[in-house]
Every structure is written in C-alpha cells, then in structure tokens.
C-alpha cells in the first residue's frame, strides 16, 4: 500500500504528522508527501519546529525563521525559529506596556520579570507550541504536514495542550468569579456601565486558541499520525 493511497482514500485527513526516532526519514517523508500533494493541486504547508530542522536542506533553501516560504506553486515550507519568536514576543509585550501607560521606559521590576520569564526552561517549548497553534488556527491551507522532532519531544508537545487547557480553564474560572463580584458591586451602586475585563478577554482568547488546536490535533477524522520505523 502506498502513502498516496491513504490520501486518496481519506481526503478529510488534512493534518498529517510524521514522528519517530531521529534519522529515519521523517523529513524525507514529510517533504515527499508535501511535494506529491502540491502536485495534485492542493495548497500544502509543511512545517517543522526542530531547531536543527532539515527542511532547509531538503529543499535547498535557507528558510529558518522566515515564515512560510513558497517553494513551488502550492507548496509552502516553514521552519520555526523559537528564539526569534520569543524575542519578538517580548518586544510586543514591552510595546504594549509602553502604549498602555505612556511609559518611556519599562519599570525595572517588570523588565526583570520579562527577562526572567524568558529564561525559564518551559519558555522555548511554550513559544514553539504557540507558533504551531498560530499556524493551525490561522488556516488557509488544504494540508498541514507537521515534521515532528524525535519522538519523546513530540509527545511532550502534544501533551502540553492538555496541561495548558487545564491551567487556563482554572484561572479563567477564577477570573469569571471575580467578574461576578464586580458586577454585584456595580449593581448595588446602580452603576450603569462596567468596563470590560481585558484580562478575562485575553484568557478567553488563549483558551479558544489552545482548545481549537488541540481538538484538531486529536481529531480522528482530520488527523493522521505516521510512525516512521526501520523494518
């Protein structure tokens, strides 16, 4: 049975992952599948989160951290640069703080926290996870081919979404409870308008993104996981 057979039989499987040990051909399979699908006229994105990704090698183009690059019609390739993403993200947070409060400079204490948080061991993984969420939630392609990092790591990424889901769920609930108290006080004081709780809005957005992406990645109909093995 050829790989092409799987895609012909199950056109609804649009999220394709290749996993397995290092050096067995995950990237080769990802690239070949992407090439074949693109030739069939499907819009395909093949992406990798591995800092030592070899998509650059296989397509002979320097694409690391450059977003989705079009290699040939319908075939897009993306290699995620986690460090670069974290830097951009930090700057975005700083800019937001400056804009919101009209600061020229970020207060030392806050700056220290931004620095420290980025040095946490989980930061890189979270940043990668978030980029994958971005790619999936954004849409725009017929097929997504996820060239995973060697196995242990990959499972870790996949389980991360359920851990995040729970954490976000809990704090969103706390935030909603806080909102109730606020509304109660406003009602008693007969205040007409209560400003929107922006933290709650952010949390709901984060929750939406995580649950959307994890529901796609664990969907039996839409997602295929291929283990690459040595026979």
């Amino acid at each position: 049975m050829s790989l092409a057979h799987v895609f012909r039989e199950h056109p609804e499987r649009r999220y394709i992952m290749f996993g397995g040990k290092g050096g067995l051909g995950k990237t080769t399979f990802s690239a070949a599948t992407a090439y074949w699908l693109a030739k069939q006229g499907k819009r395909v994105l093949v992406f990798s989160v591995d800092p030592q990704a070899s998509l650059s090698d296989i397509f002979q183009r320097d694409i690391f951290g450059k977003g989705a690059v079009e290699i040939m019609p319908n075939l897009y390739v993306q290699e995620i640069d986690a460090d670069e993403h974290i830097r951009a993200y930090q700057d975005e947070i700083r800019q937001k703080i400056r804009d919101m409060y009209g600061f020229d400079k970020i207060p030392q204490e806050i700056e220290d926290y931004i620095q420290a948080a980025s040095a946490e061991p989980a930061m890189e993984e979270s940043a990668i996870f978030d980029q994958v969420v971005d790619i999936i939630v954004e849409g725009g392609y017929d097929y997504y081919i996820y060239d995973l990092v060697p196995l242990g790591h990959a499972l870790y990424y996949l389980s991360m979404s359920s851990v995040y889901d729970q954490w976000i769920d809990k704090i969103t609930k706390l935030r909603e409870e806080m909102r109730e108290y606020e509304q109660m006080a406003a009602r008693i004081k007969r205040e007409e308008e209560l400003p929107e709780d922006q933290i709650l809005a952010e949390l709901q957005d984060i929750r939406y993104r995580i649950s959307t992406s994890s529901s796609i990645l664990t969907d039996r109909e839409k997602t295929a996981f291929f283990f690459v093995l040595v026979p």
């Binding site: 703080i97 989980a122 706390l174 006080a185």
Partner: protein, 92 residues
C-alpha cells in the same frame, strides 16, 4: 418658586434620600463585594505572576501576555503578599 426650581429641588431631595438609603442598606454590601474582588485580584496575580516573588508557575509564556494589564497593581500586590501578618490584621 418657579416650576423649574421646584423640579430641581425635588430631584435633589430624591438624590439625598436614595443616597441615604444606599448608605444604610447596601453600601456595606458593595464594599464587601469589592473587597472580595480585591483579594481575588491578588490571588489571581499570584497564580499567574508568581515568578515575580519566586513562586514558580506553570507556563510563563501565557502569563507574559497578561503582564501589561497588571502592571499598575504589581507594587501593591507585592506589598500585600510580602507583608508580615499579625493579630491586628484580623481586626481590620
């Protein structure tokens, strides 16, 4: 007294009466609700920004997204969390 003056007088009286009743009946309730809300705000910052005090929290990536909104509260929050507690707190 003209019609207009009469109206403004009555509206003033109505205000005073509603304020008085509010003060007697529900001000305490509103205060209590806001106080609870305030404590929860600090609890919330603790579980999202705990790293600021050295309490490790789960995903720093998403806390950073919330950071801009709590910037004004950080110093009062730190003061409250790190304050030594004694018996007089219970009376407050």
């Amino acid at each position: 007294m003209s019609e207009q003056e009469k109206q403004s007088f009555f509206s003033k009286v109505r205000h005073v009466v509603t304020d008085f009743i509010y003060g007697m009946a529900s001000h305490e309730m509103a205060r209590q609700a806001l106080k609870t809300r305030g404590s929860m705000e600090h609890l919330f910052i603790l579980i999202t920004m705990g790293d600021l005090l050295g309490v490790p929290i789960l995903p720093p990536y998403y806390s950073l997204r919330l950071l801009p909104y709590v910037v004004p509260q950080v110093s009062t929050w730190k003061r409250r969390m790190l304050r030594e507690k004694d018996l007089t707190d219970a009376l407050a």
